[in-house]
């Protein structure tokens, strides 16, 4: 099976007043038709990785890599025009909070059809029909009515399902989900995840699931990368998370409360400065 995405030695740097800051420090991974989880704490570089793949790092940020390939396209040399054809059509991204990631002054319908019309020459009526169908697929009741609503008129869970519909309507092969449920109520998190999972599996897409929630990721993904300070410290199959060896992963696992076995005190993570300097683990397949 060929990979959808191959990344080797990816770096994202930002110049600051006191030298450069490296948000991502040379990571390598590949993505097949699988669900790949990227886990790490705030500032570990996981979101930057997602954005770097779509070349959405704005100046003055710099993205470098030895290799960055999506299908037949070399992302490193791709022009902005080529990137625009890839974005949305081949790889899409869902962001954290639909309250901010949907345009407040455009109707849901026009935002979804826009995503489709950008990449396909279809009539407006046809685009509208497919948008309604897509809203139906993300389990939105009365999609015809929702098409005419503005983002402030829908709930958070609904907003995120609208985002999913919008990002999947041009049939991309890769979906990057950047903390897609972190801003949602716990009660709707699972519902949104299930809908996303079903669509991604049905369409045989590759999913990059970025999260800080190790439990969620281990239940939901096939393979997990654990990032720390801009590097991958450990790669493991989701089912074998308990076999993880890296002290950071073990620390993360130990700091999760367990209802079945309550402990008087949760372990606090003891950080070893050596973790920062350890070479990045390759997650290429």
């Amino acid at each position: 099976m060929t990979n959808l995405l191959d990344v080797e030695n990816l770096r994202v740097t930002f110049p600051t007043r006191s030298g450069t800051f490296e948000a991502v420090r040379g990571i390598s991974f590949s993505l097949g038709r699988e669900r790949l989880g990227i886990v790490g704490e705030s500032g570990s570089g996981k979101s930057m990785t997602g954005r770097a793949i779509l070349k959405l790092i704005r100046k003055p940020g710099i993205v470098t890599a030895d290799r960055m390939r999506m299908g037949d396209t070399n992302l490193l040399t791709a022009s902005e025009r080529e990137m625009r054809r890839i974005r949305g059509r081949h790889a899409s991204m869902i962001m954290q909070d639909p309250k901010f990631s949907l345009n407040p002054v455009m109707t849901v319908g026009s935002q979804i059809t826009e995503a489709l019309l950008t990449h396909e020459k279809t009539s407006r009526a046809e685009a509208r029909k497919r948008a309604v169908g897509m809203l139906d697929a993300v389990a939105i009741r009365n999609p015809e009515r929702v098409m005419g609503l503005y983002p402030h008129e829908v709930s958070g869970g609904m907003g995120q399902r609208i985002m999913i519909a919008m990002m999947l309507i041009p049939n991309p092969e890769i979906l990057i989900a950047d903390e897609p449920t972190s801003a949602l109520d716990v009660s709707v998190q699972l519902q949104v995840l299930e809908i996303m999972d079903k669509l991604v599996t049905d369409r045989g897409m590759g999913l990059i699931f970025i999260s800080h929630d190790l439990n969620l990721v281990s239940n939901f993904c096939d393979r997990i990368l654990i990032m720390y300070a801009g590097r991958i410290v450990e790669v493991c199959q989701a089912g074998k998370l308990h076999e993880a060896k890296h002290p950071y992963t073990i620390g993360l696992l130990n700091s999760v409360p367990d209802l079945e076995h309550p402990r008087p005190r949760l372990d606090a993570l003891q950080r070893d400065p050596a973790w920062r300097e350890a070479p990045s683990v390759s997650a290429l397949t």
Binding site: R87, G88, F100, N103, P104
Partner: protein, 326 residues
């Protein structure tokens, strides 16, 4: 609607009080200083100055509501007639000035935000800085000197050359519009070459303001998450900027433009004087210098009312453009 009524009543109250506390004897202003005491008393009663203040105010409000601002001492005509004559001149100038400011200032502000820190941003900053800091009378005189005096590209002070006066029937009082309606191109051209310099000057001042505000509104929007969403969809940068970001600043821009417009309608006194423009700013100033309080207060009330009306108008547009305000 109630707040509007209260605002307008407050405005009338303030202008009324100004008229009363000014150290100008309204009776003397009418009859002159050499009148006899008997004449003085007669006019004093005629003006209703013997009645209590509150009654005087009620009479004043009633008069104003009927469009009666009294008679101008300077021109001898009804103040409402005078204003009807001078206001279109200001309206025409301010409207053209605002149009120039909007059509150049908004794109300049958007570009400055998109290319933040690049040369176009620096140019916009420099243009804005001059607009903010140069006194308008100096720029006006320099403009006249260069474009009228030396280059001769535009006509000099006034609204219309002597030859062309009274050639087209007055319909709206706006010369450009009237001459167009009459189909008289020579008059239109002459009126245009008279108005273009002062209008550009006023336009430049609102451009400075509008472009700075547009820039900061746009910067705020361009950093929002929904802009990333739009880029993720694969939209072109042009679409991202105009269809997504700009659509979100229209609401704020309306307020800014309405303010800039109101500013030009009320505050172009210096420009009107330099360009001998027979508008309301000049009317009020001249009236003030000849102690003609009826005209001053009448003009002030009209300008205040326009200010309030523009605010109502921008509120209405708000509802139209912002789905959240419904």
């Amino acid at each position: 609607m109630l707040t509007v009524a209260v605002t307008l009543l407050g405005l009338l109250f303030v202008t009324f009080m100004i008229g009363r506390v000014m150290p100008i004897d309204p009776v003397l202003a009418v009859i002159g200083e050499r009148a006899t005491q008997a004449q003085y008393d007669e006019v004093f009663l005629e003006l209703g100055l013997d009645k209590p203040l509150i009654t005087q105010f009620a009479i004043y409000v009633n008069d104003v509501l009927h469009g009666d601002f009294g008679t101008s001492i300077r021109t001898g005509k009804l103040v409402s007639e005078d204003i009807g004559r001078v206001f279109p001149a200001t309206l025409e100038l301010a409207t053209l000035g605002t149009l120039i400011g909007v059509f150049l200032g908004v794109p300049l502000g958007v570009l400055a935000a998109v290319y933040r820190g690049r040369w176009i941003d620096q140019v916009a900053r420099f243009v804005g800085l001059i607009g903010y800091s140069m006194p308008i009378f100096w720029l006006g005189l320099m403009g006249l000197l260069i474009f009228y005096g030396i280059l001769g590209w535009v006509a000099g002070p006034g609204r219309l050359g002597v030859f062309y006066q009274g050639l087209v029937p007055e319909r709206s009082g706006l010369l450009l519009l009237d001459s167009l309606l009459a189909g008289d191109w020579t008059v239109f051209k002459d009126a245009f070459s008279h108005i273009i310099l002062p209008a550009s000057l006023l336009g430049y001042y609102s451009l400075a303001y509008i472009s700075r505000m547009t820039r900061s509104f746009m910067l705020e929007q361009l950093n929002s998450e929904y802009i990333t969403t739009a880029r993720v969809k694969g939209l072109s940068e042009w679409t991202v900027i105009w269809r997504h970001a700009f659509r979100n600043i229209r609401i704020q821009l309306i307020t800014v433009i309405a303010l800039a417009y109101a500013n030009l309608l009320e505050g172009s006194v210096l420009t009107e004087i330099i360009f001998a423009w027979p508008g309301i700013g000049q009317y009020i100033t001249t009236s003030l210098l000849s102690n003609d309080m009826n005209s001053v207060l009448g003009g002030t009330v009209v300008i205040g009312t326009i200010f309030v009306a523009l605010n109502i108008f921008s509120d209405l547009l708000y509802r139209f453009f912002d789905p959240r305000a419904k």
